[in-house]
């Protein structure tokens, strides 16, 4: 079976759900979400029967811009799992959506198709098109509860800044094309290693492309949109943005850098960006009192750790970190949705005394916070462990020093949430109600976080084939 079947099935699934929404009038819209989750689950299952092959440098036609290597397959599964979890979270937050519930459940499936294509894209044209598919659906999703002024602000900000970053990306691609005459990453890399390359315009194009991607992964100095957009968007969409969109950005970054690292300045630039991202994300998260904003800044901080893995050429570290990031971020956002449904707000103070109101939710939140902070026996620790190890192998002393200091910062703001849940007394005593599906999901995520913290081998094995995307094409 060809890998492209997966994306096509996802698209068909999305269109099917839209048609159902349009023509089956009296349908309970929640069924669409269940259908979506089920369909994506089937595609996830099917992905294990897809044959993955190494990159073909001399492929032509479709296969010259679509790769079905293990890295791509790994991130396709990543996108599918993320989208399923996000749909479950959307179900939990469905009561807050005023209108258009059907489309709300169908849009993430198109996003998912875009993310899956992005994982396979090895040509600038393909990268651009799939990135746009993702971004377009996010424009709608971010502004979905548009009668809320905060959401509207978030939607506008995301639209404008995202369009701006797309402009940078396209402009960069044209410069690279102008210098090399190629859009395929492999051929661009080959052209970059020619001795008679015009360095300045090539570097200019590469930097512009990195600026465009920097917006997607929220690296400093392109992080300005994050806090407001994360806070304003519906929480499930925020979770999707911070996991799906970021993961896709990193896959593209890994692929693109395989060509760009031939230019030595690019690596130095990325080290600087990583240091700035680590410092900014962690310091800005310290004083936050709104949990969604805090998670927004923490996602910037995690982008910093991921960048450390990227500049240390460790695809395995980046991959594992993203998986752990997926688990812990989605877990914390799920708890956030459930608590916000009952408390009506997303402040940390709304979590006061949660351990008395719902020990289960408090435990789930504690585990995700500990994992985000990087306490051993959680997946988050092993991710940091691998990233630090990669940086040490590459003798990136400055990065390691900054990363250690910022990890200590992280302990403060993540434990702030734990303190609220366990030390403070609750404003109300009412227990919190949530669906059985969410309970199962949260339990599964908790088990996965702890299991991967103790027994990381399954993911490591899956990544070991995919671990050298940067060097493979050199």
């Amino acid at each position: 079976m060809q890998a492209a079947v997966l994306e096509i099935s996802a698209l068909v699934l999305g269109i099917f759900l839209l048609l159902c929404e349009a023509f089956a009038g009296a349908l309970d819209k929640r069924r669409l979400a269940y259908g979506g989750i089920f369909g994506l689950g089937l595609i996830l299952l099917a992905s294990f029967f897809v044959t993955a092959g190494p990159l073909q440098p001399d492929a032509v036609g479709f296969w010259s811009f679509y790769a079905a290597d293990p890295l791509a397959l790994f991130f396709k599964r990543f996108a599918l799992a993320t989208t399923m979890l996000v749909l479950i979270m959307m179900l939990e937050s469905a009561p807050r959506i005023q209108s258009g519930l059907g489309e709300f459940f169908a849009l993430p499936i198109f996003t998912c198709a875009g993310l899956m294509w992005m994982a396979s894209a090895i040509d600038f044209v393909m990268i651009f098109v799939s990135l746009e598919l993702v971004t377009m659906s996010f424009y709608v999703l971010v502004a979905y509860t548009r009668r809320n002024p905060v959401t509207l602000e978030a939607g506008v900000k995301y639209l404008i800044l995202s369009a701006l970053s797309t402009g940078f990306l396209v402009y960069g691609i044209t410069w690279v094309f102008g210098v090399t005459g190629e859009t395929s990453l492999a051929r661009v890399a080959a052209a970059f290693s020619q001795p008679n390359l015009e360095r300045a315009p090539a570097l200019f194009g590469a930097v512009l492309i990195l600026v465009g991607l920097g917006f997607k992964i929220a690296a400093v100095p392109f992080q300005i949109w994050v806090a407001d957009v994360y806070q304003g968007a519906p929480t499930a969409v925020t979770a999707y943005l911070s996991v799906g969109s970021k993961a896709a950005g990193f896959v593209v970054l890994l692929r693109v850098l395989s060509a760009f690292f031939i230019l030595p300045q690019v690596q130095r630039l990325l080290v600087a960006v990583a240091i700035a991202t680590l410092i900014y994300g962690n310091l800005a998260a310290l004083p936050q009192t709104n949990l969604k904003r805090l998670l927004g800044y923490s996602s910037i901080a995690h982008a910093g750790y991921l960048l450390v893995g990227v500049v240390s050429f460790s695809g395995a570290a980046v991959g594992f970190y993203l998986v752990s990031y997926l688990l812990m971020t989605l877990l914390s956002f799920t708890v956030l949705i459930v608590v916000a449904n009952s408390a009506g707000g997303e402040e940390i103070s709304d979590f006061d005394g949660l351990s008395k109101r719902s020990p289960f939710l408090a435990l789930a939140m504690m585990i995700s916070m500990l994992s985000l902070a990087g306490v051993p026996f959680t997946a988050g620790f092993f991710g940091k462990f691998m990233v630090f190890d990669a940086a040490i192998q590459q003798h990136q002393t400055a990065l390691v020093v900054v990363a250690v200091v910022t990890v200590a910062c992280g302990f403060y703001y993540y434990l702030k949430v734990i303190r609220a849940m366990y030390w403070e007394s609750p404003a109300r005593a009412a227990p919190i109600a949530f669906s059985q599906l969410s309970r199962v999901t949260m339990t599964g995520l908790m088990i996965a976080i702890i299991t991967l913290g103790v027994y990381p081998q399954p993911i490591l094995r899956a990544l070991s084939d995919a671990s050298h995307p940067v060097t493979a094409q050199r």
Partner: protein, 489 residues
């Protein structure tokens, strides 16, 4: 056996969280662990070099990480200390008004983390188990602490987290500096690589490890988290942390830093001597100035780390034996002191020296036990601390000694000996103001420690006396460990 020792506390902690009767399960679990440790102690073969009771499960083939446990003489002593203090701490837990099950679960998790760290023979789990104790400590101090508990909880957590990550970098650097073929997380294989790391690299790694472990041990000047945390922590948590968890860093230095990085250790000896004198002299003088018993005990536990550092810095078998014994001795005596201090606080409502007095009349048993622990802490003969400190001082004095001159080690030892006087000053003064003289208002109505709380105290004091009179029973079991750590000495 070791799997049982490590995982029973953790499993019972989870059971307690799930609703098992808190106190009964916790006492039973810690008792079972103590029994198992004593059995392991009895069956331990002292002449055998290398690790015994080894169990190993592969966790990650890509990284070569095993969930592996095993003990040699050094880890045996640490396990003995941990299980003794855990048993006493759990038994000594007063009735908890709120969240009783969470309290016991946190205690057992701390103990499980310490046991796991001491029994691990895999670098990854050695590190990971220690951090398992970090969050329970945060919760114990934050929820059930007294005084300025929030500041104290933040401070200890941030300090220890920073120290742990510095340590992690050091360990990773150590791992990566080994030649490709020798890279391993397994202590048994690591021991064979001693000296294979280039000297310049050893300097960097040892410094990182010294700072990382040093923060965990409260090495001067990274000690400021300790007194505050111990003053605010509930008594059982203070017993476990000051008595056991703080020893993790010392254990790590003896286990990893000294044997694997001999050149680095030699290079930084001067720095370490200065810092440990900071612990003994500077912190000792600060201890004298304290006006509350809990703060005084906190500072005194920081101060005593200096002697253990001295034994480690000596780098010979006598010093290392002394350091290991002193870890045990200090853990036992500080646990008794914190336990009695917790009882005094519970019965009189205060630990300020000026509010206390004449307690020996109303609390004769507490007075007796506190007096014995005081003698032990000062290092009077007959108690474990004496035999350990003698070895430390002899070991340190012996380094580089010639008949004509005093070198750095002799000078340091002479200065460190003054620490014994300093600790006599503050311990005896504390004893006098609290237990002697006329009864103060707060003391008058206090009642003595009941018979139901006495067994763990007898156990701890008995262990102190036993080690004091028969140190050979422990030293003999450590011969195997030193044969690999200090070959040819």
């Amino acid at each position: 056996m070791l799997l049982f020792i490590v995982f029973v506390p953790i499993a019972v902690a989870l059971l307690i969280l799930a609703g098992a009767p808190a106190r009964a399960s916790a006492v039973a679990a810690s008792g079972a662990v103590l029994l198992a440790t004593l059995l392991a102690f009895a069956g331990f073969d002292g002449g055998h070099a290398g690790y015994q009771l080894v169990t190993s499960r592969l966790v990650s083939a890509d990284w070569g990480i095993h969930l592996a446990f095993g003990i040699d003489g050094l880890s045996l002593i640490m396990l003995l200390l941990t299980s003794l203090v855990t048993f006493a701490a759990v038994w000594f837990t007063p009735s908890i008004p709120e969240h009783e099950n969470a309290f016991y679960a946190c205690l057992l998790l701390m103990a499980g983390g310490a046991l796991g760290a001491f029994a691990s023979i895999d670098l990854f789990f050695f590190y990971a188990f220690h951090e398992l104790a970090l969050i329970p400590t945060f919760l114990l101090i934050g929820i059930w602490g007294t005084g300025n508990r929030q500041t104290a909880a933040w401070k200890i957590t941030i300090y220890l987290a920073t120290g742990s990550f510095i340590l992690l970098i050091g360990l990773l650097l150590l791992y990566r500096s080994l030649p490709e073929a020798a890279r391993s997380f397994d202590f048994r294989l690591l021991q064979k690589t001693a000296g294979q790391i280039p000297a310049g690299m050893q300097h960097h790694i040892y410094l990182l490890l010294l700072i990382g472990f040093g923060i965990l041990i409260s090495l001067f000047p990274f000690h400021t988290w300790a007194p505050q945390a111990y003053a605010s922590a509930p008594a059982p948590a203070a017993m476990l942390h000051a008595g056991v968890l703080k020893k993790f860093g010392l254990y790590g230095l003896l286990r990893i830093a000294i044997p694997l990085l001999p050149e680095g250790a030699r290079y930084w000896t001067g720095l370490l001597l200065v810092l440990l004198l900071g612990n003994i002299i500077y912190v000792g003088l600060v201890t004298i100035a304290q006006k509350r018993l809990d703060w005084m005990l906190g500072y005194s536990s920081v101060m005593h780390m200096g002697y253990i550092f001295l034994g480690i810095a000596a780098g010979n078998i006598v010093g290392a034996n002394g350091a290991a014994l002193l870890m045990l001795a200090h853990g036992l005596s500080i646990a008794v002191l914190f336990a009695v201090a917790g009882e005094i606080r519970g019965r009189t409502g205060t630990l300020v020296f000026s509010d206390l007095g004449g307690l020996a009349k109303v609390m004769p048993f507490a007075g007796l036990v506190f007096g014995l622990a005081t003698f032990a802490a000062i290092g009077l003969p007959g108690f474990a601390n004496f035999s350990a400190e003698v070895m430390v001082f002899f070991g340190a004095f012996h380094v580089g000694a010639d008949l004509q001159h005093f070198h750095a080690f002799q000078v340091t030892t002479v200065l460190a000996l003054w620490g014994v006087v300093i600790s006599a000053v503050y311990m005896l003064r504390a004893y006098r103001t609290i237990f002697m003289g006329s009864a103060s208002e707060a003391s008058a109505s206090a009642t003595d420690i009941g018979t139901n709380l006495r067994p763990p105290i007898f156990l701890l004091v008995g262990a102190m006396l036993w080690v004091g009179f028969f140190p050979q029973s422990l030293v003999g079991r450590m011969q195997g460990s030193w044969r690999t750590s200090f070959p040819g000495k």
